[in-house]
Symmetry: C2
Amino acid sequence: MIGRMTSTDSFSLRPVGRVKSPYTEASDVPRGLGAKHEAEGVLEIAPELEEGLTDIEGFSHLFVIWVFDRSESVELVGTPPCDETPHGVFATRSPFRPNPIGLTVVELLRREGRRLHVRGVDMLDGTPILDIKPYLSGVPAASLRRGWLDAVEARKTGLQ
Amino acid sequence: MIGRMTSTDSFSLRPVGRVKSPYTEASDVPRGLGAKHEAEGVLEIAPELEEGLTDIEGFSHLFVIWVFDRSESVELVGTPPCDETPHGVFATRSPFRPNPIGLTVVELLRREGRRLHVRGVDMLDGTPILDIKPYLSGVPAASLRRGWLDAVEARKTGLQ
């Protein structure tokens, strides 16, 4: 399960576990502005890595780094579901990324051995997990600027 | 520059760019409780991916997903610099991870073409970048529990 560098320019990574999720198709996952990610799921870690979960139950929230393993293409510029204008892939959460890596913050509900029951999954069932990290602090909302997303929200709010 | 799955169980990823950082040795990077990451650096994206940065300048903060490319080992349980007791790797930000992936939130100061000038780097100079995502929202501090880290902070504050 240990992924390591294979050359100076390519990294071979192996899943540390898989996501159990109620979603089996990309179209099942709520998308776009105001999408709520309240779905519960399980992060199932490989048996030989269970020791790495020691003390994780003390954290309320976790970062999950995972692979869009059913995403087949790359779009450097694309139009998100909530907007009509295209944006660069690094300014969106599009699955069509140069490296198909996803990042999700989940709430840890409870741990059962090597299974972490969580709320807030937006991955498909069976999604490979690359890493889990504790969520330690966030940027205060008052300090955030969110570019095109703020503009879309302002426009849609104005229309309502 | 396009990394893709090579088998059902292993993913080959290639850097989308590199970090320019003032830190050249791991011992240069502030570590432990209360470490401030105010260092400025540059995220330099590969020329052929520059289009993917379109509109990124509207965001104040970014997630950077990167590789601990100078980390050689894995410790499923280890003792962080700020504590005396060991914790599971998935409950820490240790570099000795099953997949040597790092995650940092940086503040975007300005963009110059394919170079993003940022504040808050904690990576070494030359670190490979796997992905950049916009920071859209954070978990409110009042909702966070931070396990062993809260316990260490409470103990250290009590001692002062």
